[in-house]
């Protein structure tokens, strides 16, 4: 993997799920490879590599990005949240809980991407309604569920938020 004569490496310090990580990376290092190969965080998946399917979605400073098309160098100084950062290892995140309750996954390959996209939406200023959820998740592909249970799962968490913080 190390090419002695390649372009100079870039130092990066990234906060990954609350843990500060410092490395020297190749300029061409993609965030998804950095997470999966260098750090062993394989929850984030790779599929289309065209920013179309959404399975590689992670949050960089709270914004959803396709980690397959995001240079690790650009995450320097940023906070990255992956699906591994949703749960504390004991308690599931409300979105994870709701995906289970609503049968929002079958094979599960797209689930990390849907969870991270949904988290980005629910962390926003406004609690989304169903239309906003559908619109936001347009850019993610699931070949098992037919999407309805996923939208319902997110809607349930949105309702909880509305009841809890806005009611």
């Amino acid at each position: 993997m190390t090419e002695p004569s390649g372009p100079p490496r870039v130092p990066v310090t990234v906060d990954i799920n609350g843990v500060s990580v410092s490395r020297q990376v190749e300029p061409r290092s993609l965030l998804v490879d950095f997470l999966r190969e260098d750090l062993g965080l394989t929850g984030t998946k790779v599929s289309c590599e065209l920013q179309v399917c959404g399975v590689c979605t992670v949050l960089v400073d709270g914004r959803p990005v396709s980690s397959c098309t995001f240079l690790t160098a650009d995450a320097d100084g940023a906070a990255v949240t992956t699906v591994e950062g949703l749960s504390d290892g004991q308690t599931l995140h409300p979105l994870q809980e709701s995906f289970v309750d609503n049968f929002a996954l079958q094979c599960g390959f797209c689930t990390p991407g849907f969870l991270m996209m949904s988290k980005a939406l629910l962390d926003g200023d406004e609690v989304p309604d169903r239309a906003a959820i559908v619109e936001h998740l347009e850019g993610n592909i699931c070949r098992c569920t037919g999407y309805e249970p996923i939208v319902e799962a997110v809607e349930h968490v949105a309702e909880q938020l509305r009841g809890g913080t806005h009611g």
Binding site: P7, L50, V52, N140
Partner: protein, 267 residues
Amino acid sequence: MTLPPFALRRPVTLDEALRELTEDSVPYCGGTELLLAMRAGLHRPDALVDLKRIPELSGVRVEDGVLVIGATERHADLATHPVIQERLPVFARMERHIGNARVRSQGSIGGNLCFAEPKSDVATVLMALGASVTLAGPEGRRTASVEEFVVGPYYAEKEPDELLVDVRIPLRDGLRGAYVKFQTMERPTVGVAVLADDAAGWYRLGVGAVGEVPLAWSFGSLGEIDPDEVAAWIDPTPDLSGSEEYKRHVTAVYVRRALAKLEQVSA
């Protein structure tokens, strides 16, 4: 899949960036187009010149009745920018529906125009608005209308040593605008923008995504816009989203829908 190797340059001023640019040392911002082209083997630059740390290329402001948008501004930020939402809501709404939420949080307006993707929503709306771009190069600055700049599919009229600095949209009081698109896959089949400044008798129509480049026309009244006539003016590219005949049909339908939507938009 791994990208081919390249060096990363990170200038912090425009002059520094201009000195870095060559045929093989290319501007880089969000990467939503460039990294895909590199992965596909279409492009193999020696170095990427990252523009994201250059303050002169960012920001949104109004200058003498012109909305000025820095080239590195990302779609997600433009969609929610208070000045754009207030002064040019049709543009904010278009930005809100580009690609998907990830593309919007990575991709920049400048990158979108320079890449000249024929199915871009941005160029269609900007052409209809009569927008222009500012380019900086070793010889100084120049201005070009978006129509002069986006001249072909994946071809913008820009020298390798030039940088797009900003996009300039003339503001009109009481402007009404609508942008509608038909989309079943990742990119639109057709996008139609219609704009009306009733006080000035200024009417514009832009049609994009159907052909190699977006097209825009001026009219003296909304009544002059004949959807079937517009469908005959375009030059559709047959592809996976439809044949030439189909695209002419969908264009006429969406010109009608854009006009119907405009009627619901108050000044």
